[in-house]
């Protein structure tokens, strides 16, 4: 109960600061739209090639938007010393970390709310509920893992360089399973289309639970030691 209260308080604080400061969301939105425009020109996309290349473009944009979003999550706290101020309360590092990760997840979902419709407009990508579900499932695990490495990287001077080096290799499972699932969904398959072959949604959910637990356990050592 106390854990949930702290987590929600930290996430609400982060979102309130973001809505007032408008640091990250406008930059993420701009990044997403520009990436799609560049992809459109670079791949010379048309009505037939757009949907075919969409899964790859979706994950590329999502991964780099995630790096941008998670990198700021802890760096901003470190800059003003507020992370230490939070840790010096009895709230506990795991609950504080969970709040930060929840806030980052919501931010990335907001970014996806721009990305997916923009893909439908610019690339004529067929966005179905199955695509949305896949992206949301991958977002949770990526956010928790990304935040853990962002917390680690924020303690170093080369944090902008360290975060991609640490996070990208461990995001590969999400990208591999997610891109396959999105490919199937975009080619007309629904929730059940991939089920006999590999159940990507269950696999993504497993990854989410695994990384959520592992990163929450590791948070105490990363943040408070």
């Amino acid at each position: 109960m106390r854990f949930a209260g702290v987590m929600l308080a930290v996430a609400a604080k982060d979102l309130r600061c973001e809505l007032r400061g408008k640091e990250l969301l406008p930059a993420l939105t701009q990044f997403v739209v520009l990436s799609l425009v560049i992809a459109g020109f670079a791949f010379d996309l048309d009505a037939s090639s757009g949907p075919r290349l969409s899964p790859g473009i979706l994950w590329l944009v999502l991964v780099f938007a995630g790096l941008l979003a998670f990198g700021r999550t802890f760096a901003a706290e470190r800059d003003v010393g507020s992370l230490e101020a939070m840790l010096l309360t009895p709230a506990g590092a795991p609950a504080i970390f969970a709040g930060k990760a929840l806030g980052a997840t919501v931010l990335l979902v907001a970014c996806e709310a721009v990305l997916l419709p923009a893909m439908a407009v610019f690339l004529a990508s067929p966005i179905s509920p199955a695509v949305v579900a896949t992206v949301l499932l991958a977002t949770v695990g990526m956010a928790w893992l990304g935040c853990l490495f962002a917390a680690l990287a924020a303690q170093t001077r080369a944090r902008e360089l360290l975060l991609p080096v640490l996070a990208l290799p461990l995001w590969i499972p999400f990208v591999v399973v997610g891109s396959r699932a999105v490919q199937v969904a975009m080619s007309g398959g629904g929730f059940g289309a991939w089920a006999p072959a590999g159940q990507p949604y269950a696999v993504l959910l497993d990854f989410d639970i695994l990384f959520l637990v592992v990163s929450s356990l590791a948070a105490r050592f990363v943040l408070d030691d």
Binding site: K13, R16, E84, L88, P90
Partner: protein, 225 residues
């Protein structure tokens, strides 16, 4: 900064001023006492609790203000305190009286970035006493404070043990029972008495009572326990 062997005892309600030149180890000592850093060796017991093992339990009984204030520029003064009250597991209603205590009731709804540095320092002091801690650890709390703000320190210290680093000898004399001078991370004698050659020297002073403040008022120290 390496802190040398230091045998420090502080009685309940006692106030200790930590003095010394830049780089003497004042901040390192205070960060250890605030559980913001871990000692590489030795034993640290605070309020009867082993500080390195039970940090979260201890943090509910400690208040700390460091060089970095650790507040959120996008939040108002009141919102900052409400947030930290929630991290302490307290109700939001604790925030308003704490603001009034430091004379910031009139600017409760102003964002931190709209407050002067002195007002921000007062807000950080309000946060440090929000949960009614038994021990206050303050790193140059007089920084940026005007004369009225400095007078507030005496009121905040009422009934609490305090360890305070400062460069202002007059303020230290007015608010604290004892002083400890550090030089290159080691104890360099009592600045209010004769320098001592070595050995454990920082002991609770017998019969220490209220100390007159520079403006003639009494600081109101509690009798030593």
């Amino acid at each position: 900064m390496v802190l040398g062997p230091l045998d420090l005892e502080l009685a309940a309600g006692e106030r200790l001023a930590v003095l010394g030149d830049n780089g003497a180890g004042k901040t390192t000592l205070l960060r250890l006492l605030a559980t913001a850093a871990r000692p590489a060796a030795g034993r640290l017991e605070l309020l009867g609790v082993e500080a390195t093992r039970e940090r979260e339990r201890l943090r509910a009984r400690l208040g700390y203000v460091g060089h970095q204030l650790g507040l959120y520029p996008a939040l108002t003064a009141l919102e900052n305190l409400e947030f930290f009250a929630r991290l302490h597991g307290l109700g939001r209603e604790r925030a308003r009286p704490a603001l009034e205590t430091v004379g910031l009731g009139g600017v409760a709804h102003r964002r931190l970035e709209q407050l002067s540095r002195g007002q921000q320092q007062r807000l950080a002091l309000a946060r440090s006493v929000l949960h009614d801690p038994e021990l206050l650890v303050l790193d140059e709390p007089d920084a940026s404070l005007d004369a009225e703000g400095r007078d507030l320190l005496g009121a905040l210290f009422e009934g609490r043990s305090v360890v305070m680093a400062t460069h202002d000898l007059a303020l230290a004399r007015g608010l604290c029972h004892r002083a400890l001078r550090l030089r290159a991370g080691r104890e360099a004698g009592d600045p209010w008495g004769a320098p001592r050659a070595g050995g454990p020297s920082v002991r609770p002073r017998e019969g220490a009572g209220p100390v007159p403040l520079p403006n003639g008022r009494a600081a109101g120290a509690r009798a030593l326990g």
